[in-house]
Symmetry: C2
DNA sequence: CTTCCACAACTAAAATTTTCATCGTACCCT
DNA sequence: AGGGTACGATGAAAATTTTAGTTGTGGAAG
């Protein structure tokens, strides 16, 4: 699980990083709006923790822009103020939850877990171009035709679709497929990519799975 | 993940049950010391949440007795008082953490997660009779001889050993082996039991894995 | 422009997991 | 005690996962 923490204050940032890493999340830090926007779009985060008062573009604007770009990653906003207008406005801008400083680490952690769990219920049908995946029935179709996947193939595809558009490094995919058990020296991700492609992309003109040499893979309807 | 909640106050009890079940724990309730002792010994709980002030045998005594019987399940104590003597005493009696009322549900949840994680680090070597399992190296020996297990076989054995002595229902084992994905109508647990037995018990006089018809299985050095 | 290197794609075989059908046995009922 | 039934054990085939090795390809260096 990858989390992006956007936080100005170095002390809080490293405190959060350390705490979250102890919870076995993989954490990346960033201290300004521009980088946040860039990173959130290029990486496959499962969660964004976003301080409102940061350098450059403000948190609320970051939040809004990400949603405009159809980024679906849950966002938890951290804020010093706690006025009503703040809260309502934020949720409108696309934040999923907010927390006013000061807050306890455990409170943040609980909120993160709530959001991660909600993800599953939120999107009833994942779509990329004419490829559709229904997480409830675990069924997949492309151009209406049903496609049968094995468990691991399905896991891989669901993960790709939940992070559609982003470039996902092989390490993340591996983590997803083999929950944290280390299996160094293994080309299984590439093997599964091959299988997935042969089922998802092979018979279609428009290829959805893309390889980004030295970076990872992505699932994308654009040329990119 | 199975949690036993020992709580007198019906309101709190059902609140905890509901909250924990939303977190995907499987919860059992009990409102007095005697039942708590009995249930904790007969079932394979992963965690016990224990109120100090309960009917019958008091919480501290329950805690102490369970530890005397070598039950290793983590115990989180709930207490109305918050005097220092309480805290120190409890930890001596074998509790792993305590929480003073009133507490927020999220705080309890966080403590539970901490304890569950600690479990892994706490016991460096699991033993039942001459059967030994090292969770770090994932290696298993019986009477000193090394035994090679596949991933699923290992998972099953580790789970049995972490709950040694208790009768574990098939449903729990299934949940453990196939993280929550439902696979109704499947005898895989019995298939794996068979395999495990053929590696662990077959060549030995003393059988450690026991079947309890209509109840489940247990791993035990006693005749039982 | 060629060569080389690193990475990814592919293939095939081995190992494991999962399913399925059948067998054995404890327990209940009469 | 005999018979029925339900549950667990067993064996083996089918499917999937994993490993290992080979082939292909893009980009850097010469």
């Amino acid at each position: 699980m990858k989390i992006l923490v956007v936080e100005d204050d170095e002390g809080i940032a490293s405190f959060l990083k350390q705490g979250l890493e102890e919870e076995l999340f993989s954490v990346e830090l960033c201290d300004n709006g521009e980088d946040a926007l860039y990173l959130a779009q290029i990486n496959a985060y499962d969660m964004i923790v976003l301080d409102l008062m940061i350098k450059g573009i403000q948190g609320d604007a970051v939040c809004q822009k990400l949603r405009e770009k159809k980024l679906h990653t849950p966002i938890i906003v951290l804020s010093a103020k706690s006025t009503i207008s703040d809260k309502v406005g934020l949720l409108h801008l696309g934040a999923d939850d907010y927390l006013t400083k000061p807050f306890s680490f455990e409170e943040l952690l609980a909120r993160i877990h709530v959001q991660l769990r909600k993800q599953n219920d939120k999107e009833p049908l994942l779509k990329v171009a004419d490829l559709e995946l229904n997480p409830l029935t675990k069924s997949v179709t492309r151009s209406g035709e049903s496609i049968t996947l094995t468990a691991k193939e399905y896991m891989l595809l669901e993960y790709l679709m939940r992070h559609r558009g982003a470039i996902i490094e092989e390490k993340s995919l591996e983590e997803q497929l083999f929950s944290s058990e280390q299996s160094i020296n293994s080309n299984m991700v590439s093997v599964y990519m091959y299988r997935l492609r042969s089922k998802i992309d092979k018979n279609f003109e428009r290829k959805l799975i893309k390889t980004h040499r030295n970076l990872g893979y992505s699932l994308n309807e654009n040329a990119l």
